[in-house]
């Protein structure tokens, strides 16, 4: 992790929130003045590789937006504190920031966090929450009315991959796939939907493998994989380990299966860590990469704003995600205030759901819409020797 975001992160929220912990309640009510955006990003902990970028993207967006004059003449203020990717921490931070600053918008943490605060968010009815989790359980306007996600659900991502698999088949017999996923909420979330989609497309599911997340020995699992000989192996619920080990052992065993992954395995830094093993890996990515050959206004803006600060992780997809979250917040606030309504949960929810055929200026290659509080679009990329190249056009599902 670079040093810049650490420094900035400190400036933003921790001082304010800590003053209160010392017993000096700091009450700032943003009635007509500032609009507070609360955040509990995982800047340290096991999700730090992503959290730093998410945090920097959103806080840079707030800074940039303020330099543009804010939204409808109102300035934004970003209040954040590191969650360490621990549910108890992130829930506590959420409670504290909500108690002190009453933010109408909150960018949070894991799926566990989102579920833990969902009852309170529903009850408060005063804010809209989002976070880095794409769990399909959360894309549910009935159960989690004030939660949305800045991209497709994990199920959506798997469906995009399966679409790709289906289209890659020339003949009548479809290639087979294997699902390899971690024994976590993250890993298991899209598997039922994935299997249903595979059945619909006529793709045989050769094998399902559940493993622990992270660094584990996969030799025993490989025995199964070697016998099943799937054409594609879809990995989900991991960041890096044990994907490279699986791929290496697949090669050593003479399998020609292609490895596939979802968003959190697809950042350039993660792909780079795979080294030579990564070549041939194919993954789904909802956003345009910062190094995409096609220049687009938003990506150029991100490059310009991000590269002002030395060491900024602006090239990562996480920064792009943080920035996109800002843009969605902008839409929600702009549409709500534009309709002369107050920033309450139901009003903002209506504004969110009204996002239709929205041009993100290039983060997504196609105009996107909010469907069940998610953005069901993305495209597949192929890792070649040195770079990551688009492997399909933009795919919108559902």
């Amino acid at each position: 992790m670079s040093s810049f975001d650490r420094r900035r992160f400190i400036g933003s929220g921790i001082a304010a929130s800590a003053a209160a912990a010392l017993g000096a309640p700091l009450r700032v009510f943003a009635q007509s003045g500032e609009i507070v955006i609360g955040a509990a990003p995982p800047i340290t902990g096991v999700f730090a590789f992503a959290g730093a970028g998410l945090h920097a993207g959103l806080s840079d967006w707030v800074e940039w937006k303020n330099a543009q004059g804010g939204i409808a003449g109102r300035k934004l203020r970003y209040v954040a504190e590191d969650s360490g990717y621990k549910v108890d921490q992130s829930v506590a931070i959420f409670k504290k920031i909500v108690a002190q600053h009453r933010p109408p918008l909150f960018y949070g943490d894991s799926t566990g966090w989102a579920k833990a605060i969902a009852p309170e968010v529903s009850q408060l009815g005063s804010l809209l929450a989002t976070g880095p989790s794409f769990s399909s359980d959360l894309a549910d306007p009935v159960k989690a009315p004030y939660y949305f996600m800045p991209g497709p659900t994990y199920s959506g991502m798997i469906e995009i991959l399966l679409e790709h698999v289906s289209r890659s088949a020339a003949g009548a017999t479809k290639p087979s796939v294997a699902f390899v996923y971690s024994d976590t909420e993250f890993g298991r979330d899209p598997i039922p939907a994935g299997k249903a989609k595979a059945a619909k497309l006529g793709i045989p599911v050769a094998l399902e493998i559940v493993t622990k997340p992270g660094a584990v020995d996969v030799s025993a699992e490989m025995i199964k994989l070697r016998r099943a000989k799937p054409d594609f192996v879809i990995f989900h619920g991991y960041v890096l380990a044990p994907i490279p080990e699986f791929i290496r052992q697949m090669r050593e065993a003479g399998l020609s299966s292609r490895g596939m992954g979802t968003i959190y395995s697809m950042d350039k830094t993660t792909i780079d860590q795979m080294g030579a093993t990564g070549a041939g890996f194919l993954g789904v990515m909802p956003y345009r990469y910062s190094f995409d050959s096609q220049k687009t206004p938003t990506m150029e803006l991100i490059r310009e704003v991000g590269s002002r600060k030395p060491g900024s992780p602006w090239q990562t997809l996480f920064y792009t995600q943080g920035w996109l979250v800002g843009m969605i917040f902008d839409q929600v606030i702009g549409r709500t205030l534009g309709a002369k309504k107050e920033l309450t949960g139901p009003n903002m929810k209506a504004a969110l759901e009204s996002i239709n055929k929205w041009d993100t200026g290039g983060i997504f290659g196609v105009p996107v819409s909010m469907r069940t509080h998610a953005i069901p679009a993305g495209r597949t990329y192929l890792v070649t020797g040195k770079s990551i190249e688009p492997a399909s056009d933009w795919i919108t599902i559902g």
């Binding site: 992790m1 340290t44 902990g45 096991v46 730090a48 590789f49 024994d183 493998i209 559940v210 493993t211 622990k212 992270g214 660094a215 584990v216 020995d217 030799s219 025993a220 699992e221 490989m222 025995i223 199964k224 070697r226 016998r227 960041v239 890096l240 380990a241 044990p242 490279p244 080990e245 290496r248 052992q249 050593e252 065993a253 860590q273 080294g275």
Partner: protein
């Protein structure tokens, strides 16, 4: 399921049990020497692997120099831990010792995260990866070699305990510290040596595990699974640790074959619970005789 497949799962399982046995050896050494279960064993492994990463990948030293420096570093850590954490707690109840090593683990974990960050690092492949193919059965190279390495290390330690003077005095101090002290054995020195050896075994095991998977501060969780191994084998039996290591390795592989990866960690513990009901001191542990 055909027999060949079963044989393949069994072989891979037994072979990967070698590393478990090596980690278990680290636990048993400490227990035999000082009557402590070192819950920070996993963190010793993790710190060892990070030291190796720092010297080998970051400072670009050749692997043997890096390994030597790592072992020196971890030996120092072992000695410091023995002197400043465990020795002041000598004679305290079991819970104090357990919690002290758990606390130590938290300190090492936090410190490692502060120094090296939480992200995954990659160690170069140290062990040859060329798989051994026996007809339909394929044995991954690194699994074979890690097994061989574990066997060599365990054999070395066993020989040391049996035939060297230092080893004999360690055994003497372990079985009866007071008598050993009276016979002129420096019990404190042997206890320090015990922790140094435990650190060294841990570091080697950590490097093996990290090179086969990846390196992060959570590497130490591997050792939690090994607790099942040492309880199964009996806390104070080296032979028990080896046999139980192989058994648990085999069990894990068979679990993956028949049930799936989600049950991999639990099955060894279930077996341990059953075994403990029948044999309260594991398969080979020494029964404590209590007198009033």
């Amino acid at each position: 399921m055909d027999w060949l497949l079963l044989a393949e799962f069994s072989l891979v399982g037994l072979l990967s049990g070698g590393v478990l046995a090596l980690i278990a050896l680290g636990f048993v050494l400490v227990y035999k020497g000082t009557r402590v279960i070192n819950f920070a064993m996993g963190e010793f492994m993790m710190v060892g692997a990070y030291l190796f990463w720092t010297t080998h990948v970051f400072l670009k030293l050749p692997w043997w120099a890096a390994l030597a420096l790592t072992l020196v570093g971890i030996a120092g850590l072992g000695a410091v831990v023995e002197r400043f954490v465990l020795r002041p707690l000598a004679g305290q109840p079991v819970i104090s010792i357990v919690m002290a090593t758990i606390g130590l683990g938290a300190v090492l974990h936090g410190a490692a995260e502060a120094i090296w960050g939480g992200a995954n690092l990659a160690l170069p492949e140290i062990l040859p990866r060329k798989p051994l193919i026996l007809g339909e059965v394929l044995l991954p190279g690194q699994v074979l070699w890690s097994f061989a390495l574990a066997v060599a290390l365990i054999a070395g330690f066993t020989a040391y305990f049996h035939w060297s003077k230092g080893g004999v005095s360690m055994r003497a101090a372990a079985s009866d510290p007071v008598t050993a002290y009276a016979m002129g054995i420096d019990v404190r020195r042997t206890q320090r040596l015990t922790w140094i050896f435990a650190g060294v075994t841990g570091a080697v095991a950590g490097i093996i595990v990290a090179s086969m998977t990846s390196l992060s501060p959570t590497l130490g969780t591997v050792a939690l699974g090994v607790l099942a191994v040492i309880i199964l084998g009996g806390l104070d039996s080296i032979a028990g640790a080896i046999i139980a290591g192989l058994i648990v390795g085999w069990l894990e592989s068979i679990t993956v074959a028949f049930i799936g990866g989600q049950a991999r960690d639990v099955v060894p513990y279930l077996v341990v619970l059953v075994i403990l009901m029948v044999r309260p001191y594991g398969l080979f542990g020494t029964r404590d005789i209590e007198r009033l």
